[in-house]
Symmetry: C2
Subunit: 72 residues, 2 copies
DNA sequence: CAATTGGTTATCATTTATGATAGCGATGTT
DNA sequence: AACATCGCTATCATAAATGATAACCAATTG
């Protein structure tokens, strides 16, 4: 699977986990300490995420890093 | 676990997988299409890796992305 | 109607990951 | 002795991730 496909799927997984916890984009981005538009960028798969950013999100969503990237 | 610790552990995992396949830094970096010093930086956990870079390495090492980051 | 909330896009400045080069010490080989 | 290979460091330019702001639409609420 190629990069952009993986990034889009990771984004979808993040959105699904966020919605399962009934968090708005504002809620989650607040807890991650960055702005809402940046989270949208991530959920849409438009950025080549770093481990650091993924970790922030994993912590807030209370899932393991490996789970966030398990999309193949 | 905090970011730097995770990055160091991912680096160790990559090194272990590389050595298990009897690949030199030169071998693996060649197959990943980047230079040896850049791979060393990664194995030492000195860079906040992107998914794109991790994917290149995962492909060459023939492991899943999730396995590379499963260090927690 | 006005104000708020949720999702979205575009854009900008700053930081930093990436990709590459040169060089070093140690070990092994011819 | 000269040469190659391996692991490693420091450093540089460039591309791109990050962090932030302004603005939009739709739906809801006072």
């Amino acid at each position: 699977m190629e990069k952009n496909e993986v990034l889009v799927k990771i984004g979808i997984k993040i959105r699904d986990l966020r919605e399962a916890k009934n968090l708005s984009l504002q809620d989650l981005s607040d807890k991650c300490d960055f702005e809402k538009p940046n989270l949208i960028r991530i959920e849409k798969g438009r950025t080549n995420l770093t481990i650091g950013t993924l970790l922030k999100i994993a912590h807030v969503l209370n899932v393991r890093l490996a789970e966030l990237v398990d999309v193949e």
